[in-house]
Amino acid sequence: MTDRPEDQMPDFESLAAEYALGLLDGQERSAFEAMLRRDLAAASALADWQARFAAMAEAEVEAVAPPARIETAIEAALFSEAGRPASIWDRVAFWRGVSALSSAVAVAAIGFALLPLVNPPGPVGPTTPPPDAAIPPGTILMTHLLPVEGSGLGLALFRQPNGTLQVRRVAGGPTPGRAQQVWLVLGDDTPPISLGLLGDEPQTTLDPAPEISARFGVGAAVAISDEPAGGSPTGAPTGPILAVGELVAL
């Protein structure tokens, strides 16, 4: 590029602006995208130009009220029963799974004493303690995650008072080519919240964002689902539940 002004603006500044405007093509574009992934200054220059052009659009483009049917269509796509990919997480099926765990096989496979755990809270609803209830400071929450339908996967999960989660495999292992994703399950009205993926090693440490961590409480459940490599593509569980357990205070 002989015609690029080189006197004042660093090369990546001008590239970042052109990229934000959608003016880079082909090789120039892939080269800049590669630069973005390794160069913090380039990524931050791009963020600045994006903010400037977005501000231009915010100031200059008139708001136009969309027709009401658009919101209806969006909500139908996201929330309708038919469109919901997570229907297997329907609470009835979920707790049926938990009940199935009381089999001696599951207990033996794990080798833990399961004192307070397998006590399904009956029908859903107000009898379930609100998981949002504040946990007294310093409380460690834990659960044994028991295998569902012969998955063979058993885990122990501890939540430290600072919110860090330690998940230890006590039975079973990773599935080659698939991911095992950890979810916080709060109740009927709240879709499961992803806590991250299990690593291949025996112990995985997860560090949920503070607003997610704040939702842990006695009575909430943690579950593991089978997902494509890299985790659920939709943000909601898509594969079968491999293991579940209800949180108790230690």
Binding site: D3, A20, L21, G22, L36, R37, A47, M56, E58
Partner: protein
Amino acid sequence: MRADMTDHSHLEELIARIALRDRAAFSALYRATSAKLFGICLRVLVDRAKAEEALQEVFLKIWNRADRYRVTGHSPMTWLITVARNHSIDRLRAEGPPTLDLDDVAPMAAPGPSPEASAIAAGEARRIGACLDELPEARANAVRGAYLDGQSYKDLAELHGVPLNTMKTWLRRSLLSLKECLSR
């Protein structure tokens, strides 16, 4: 326009709640921002039916990517407008490779822009209108044409009746002046 429409912390809170799958927060965000975002989709795509489809897809994207908003380090309106603009531009140029999402761009280990840098960028951004006015009108319009009409260097060169390389030089100089004006 309602005063709270651009209320930074209110929108930020709504996006955080959407990341936790809060439907009421999603409805509230839709009410607060859909008209502006529909305006953007319509400005880029011109065709009303296409803009309506794009708006639906934009809000599905917002629902699905709300948990990654924070890594972009952007203000909420920057994030929302950029999602709407990039999605509309990608539809306009359906044959090309998609524009990277903001959260793909943030380097994995990067702490994101510092609060100070974000504040400076936000202050600069507010002045961009005045700085565009300092450019010769045709050049300011070339910037708008690229961002909002998806015009390529080739389109811009034809539109302004100049050779391609002249157009590139023009536009890069304009961007340089813009940056210089914004940082004064």
